[in-house]
């Protein structure tokens, strides 16, 4: 174990928070679709990858990175909505199990499609601040990680305002709370589910757009980002969007610390081990309400 010096620890913590914010955003996407359908959407991580890969492709083709990023965001939202309209909505018996299985199909299809069209090599693009590094109390922190935190905070804030203030946000919450009751008072439930897919895809896309300048991206990375997002959502309590964000921040920080204190080779294993331990001891997640659901 390396000596614990304050600057290194600060650096690890900051890195962990940045990664954790990404996990939180992806987890937010899981939570949104879970609330709307009761299913786990395994395509969520692939949407993160798609946003990064599409933007990188646009950047390589000579478009301005901002423009490519905006176009990719729209593309991913369109893919999310299309996944609902073309697949999920057309299921005959749309049980959560079946929707989960369909999402696994969509996930490997997306991954395969990106591999075949954009290749297997890692790719990326520079962030708006380039490779600038901030020095805070001896710790070196990439400026892009501030953008990551800002983007995540911004998206979550906007989403909260949307849920709290707009009529559509209210309708969406109503549809999530009780489908049948919401339909009775005139909420277009199907449209609300579609909107949830769009919002979840947007959350994934934002995560992909801001993380790619830091880590690069390839067709295979979406799966692991998806796992981590799912973990964040479960850690925070599935179906609680803010819980997912808190779960993500916690998971990212723990992972960073585990990599620093124990071993970076076993980092992934330590993170998942902690996660399973937490879930088995407290199944409703750290922030979820305990429900008496054992039958």
């Amino acid at each position: 174990m390396p000596p614990m010096d304050a600057a290194a620890l600060l650096q690890v913590l900051f890195g962990g928070l940045g990664t954790g914010a990404i996990y939180g955003l992806v987890g937010l996407g899981f939570s949104l679709i879970y609330r709307a359908t009761g299913a786990v959407n395994f395509a969520q991580g692939e949407w993160v990858m798609l946003a990064g890969m599409a933007t990188a492709a646009g950047h390589m083709a000579g478009f301005a990175t901002g423009l490519a990023g905006a176009a990719s965001l729209l593309l991913v939202v369109a893919v999310g909505v299309a996944s609902y309209l073309l697949a999920v909505q057309r299921l005959r018996d749309a049980s959560p199990l079946l929707i989960t299985m369909v999402s696994i199909g969509i996930a490997i299809f997306t991954k395969g499609a990106i591999m075949v069209t954009l290749g297997k090599n890692p790719t990326g693009y520079p962030g708006p601040l380039g490779d600038a590094v901030l020095r805070i109390a001896g710790a070196a922190i990439p400026a892009q990680s501030l953008i990551v935190l800002a983007a995540c905070a911004g998206f979550i804030f906007a989403l909260q305002v949307f849920f709290a203030r707009s009529r559509t946000g209210l309708a969406l919450r109503a549809a999530a709370a009780d489908r049948d009751a919401a339909a009775l008072v005139g909420v277009p439930v199907q449209r609300m589910v579609m909107l949830s897919f769009g919002l979840a895809a947007a959350a994934g896309a934002v995560a992909g757009l801001v993380i790619t300048p830091l880590t690069l991206i390839d067709y295979n990375q979406g799966t692991m980002l998806g796992f981590k997002g799912f973990s964040a959502a479960m850690l925070g309590g599935m179906g609680h969007p803010l819980g997912a964000v808190a779960g993500g921040l916690l998971l990212g920080t723990l992972e960073g610390l585990a990599g620093y204190a124990i071993s970076s080779r076993f980092k992934e294993a330590v993170a998942f081990l902690l996660l399973l331990a937490v879930l088995f001891l407290r199944p409703s997640g750290l922030f979820g309400k305990r429900k008496a659901e054992r039958v």
Partner: protein, 317 residues
Amino acid sequence: MSGLPHPAWLGLVFVALLAWPFLSPNDYVTLLGVGFLVNVGLVVGLNLVAGYCGQVSLCHATFFGLGAYASGVLAARYGWDPMAGLPAAVALASLGAVIIGIPALRLHGHYLAMATLGFSAIMTVMFNELVSLTGGPNGLLGVPGFVRDFGHPVDMPLGQYLVAWCYAGLCMLIALRLLASRTGRTMRAITFSELAAGGLGVDTARVKIAIFVLAAAMAGAGGWVYVHVNQFASPETFGFLRSVLLLTAVAIGGWGRFWGPLPGALVLTMTPEVLGRFHDFEMLIFGGALVLVLLAYPGGLAALGAALRGRLRRARA
């Protein structure tokens, strides 16, 4: 819910499968049959968990890998006889299932998906990083083939085929006996309504855990067959993607259909062969096929077969 066949039908199918090594033109084609039979055993187990009990397990390939590494490491590093490795393979895979299954299956919802995903990720790290045992990413080398016996080397393709044939046949027989038993009826009751089954006094968690462990034991035995046939094991064979492809094979063959694993395993085994140098398209095809089957034909290929048989019967009448 489709009915179960008479055990004689299962016997007939497996007697027919016995012809394969004698019809096949070369060792390569015989070994494709071995791969198919191993996949059959894996898909049979996963079909019990996912198809009949309605539980999404995402680490079936991990159990397969635990079995393969258990017997492979004991044989390659410690000189164990491959036959002695079978109980070790089954035991290690079952132990993994007990550790993951007991806490996860007592809860409802997505805990099994999360727990199996986590277990898969943890074990992938272990297979890669415990280099002194597993050989790490380069793979485990020097695994011996099945013992030579009866004066004949059993590690010829024919002998390997026979081992795999016994394995797949036994898995299907166990599944048939299980589904026809009281436990089988309980499993169907759980899929229909876990709440109602619980209300009638069925210990649903216990049934789910037992089936999960049984499926893992089958996968562990499959790993034992695999590692001594290929005489090699490498982490990517047992990763998350493989687990997902196995789940896809369950769906394509027919979710909760007894005969489903045969067409499911056939598609799983043959697709990479048919694609050849276009093997990059494998994920695209499996993903698309999974979505299409679930949308258009949730009963899978097994239901398609049953429907064709019914039509034939009506046409004859």
